[in-house]
Point group: C2
Chain length 159, copies 2
């Protein structure tokens, strides 16, 4: 049980630090900066922020803790590349959604005890989970943490 | 013990996937591409690759598994920003070092049993570790995995 608690703290701490890092970066970027491409011909900041929100919107479902809140972001920002013709929320709207989402996820994460983080996530079958116990809730947060770090690095180039 | 093994696999799998992802990207980039800045005015690819090697060179020391192999990379690529005047290894040399380092780290990691990954790393005191058991070897690999993902995202812009 000791390592269960320790491993859960390690991974949730890393998620929290990555969210904090991403939020501080977003707070430091102007609306005009977020409208720019992170490098010539690459995704715009507004697309990457929307993409992160769309990916994180799946977390509650995958963890069995709630429903999607922004299903309308799925098609344009999970299933499609950046496209200037896509109607998009404004940067202030996206920043508000980001902040709400971070708060809601923190509250949802806090309802789980360490042992529950090692239970299966909702996208794996009981049969597969019996063979592959690493396909648990905590692993979902781990993979989304590296994903968040990845795109934060690109957003950082807008500074 | 069950969760000890599972958590260790989760984090080492994530490291392995990030190394594999980074290596595939490096293999796909030409020497000329790696000499470019990832975005106007930002770090060059050659600097980021050297920086990753320098950071990963600390891993064996922090994990108590060996010594540094490339201490000469520490000052220019850990302690200094990118500077075109810094003498640097060639791209083929750096790619060979990267491949050697990945192989050596994999061999060193494989010597540890899951429980040993939860032992303290070498940069934390016994007293602090007693209070903060998350400051263990596995956490070192976890933080370096998000670090690797972060810079891989920037290198990806060279494509």
């Amino acid at each position: 049980m000791h390592h269960t608690t320790t491993a859960t703290k390690m991974i949730l701490d890393r998620w929290d630090a990555s969210v904090k890092n991403g939020t501080a970066l977003l707070d430091s970027l102007s609306d005009a900066q977020l409208q720019q491409q992170v490098a010539p011909g690459k995704n715009r900041g507004i697309y990457l922020l929307s993409h992160l929100i769309a990916v994180h919107d799946d977390l509650a479902v995958l963890l069995g803790l709630g429903q999607r809140c922004y299903p309308q972001l799925r098609a344009p920002f999970l299933e499609s590349p950046d496209n200037p013709d896509t109607p998009m929320p404004t940067i202030p709207e996206l920043k508000a959604i980001w902040a709400d989402q971070c708060r809601r996820l923190a509250a949802q994460f806090a309802t789980l005890q360490p042992g529950q983080w090692f239970e299966k996530h909702t996208a794996v079958s009981n049969e597969d989970f019996a063979q592959e116990p690493h396909r648990n809730r905590l692993n979902i947060v781990l993979t989304r943490t590296t994903h968040l770090a990845y795109h934060t690095a690109q957003l950082h180039l807008l500074k």
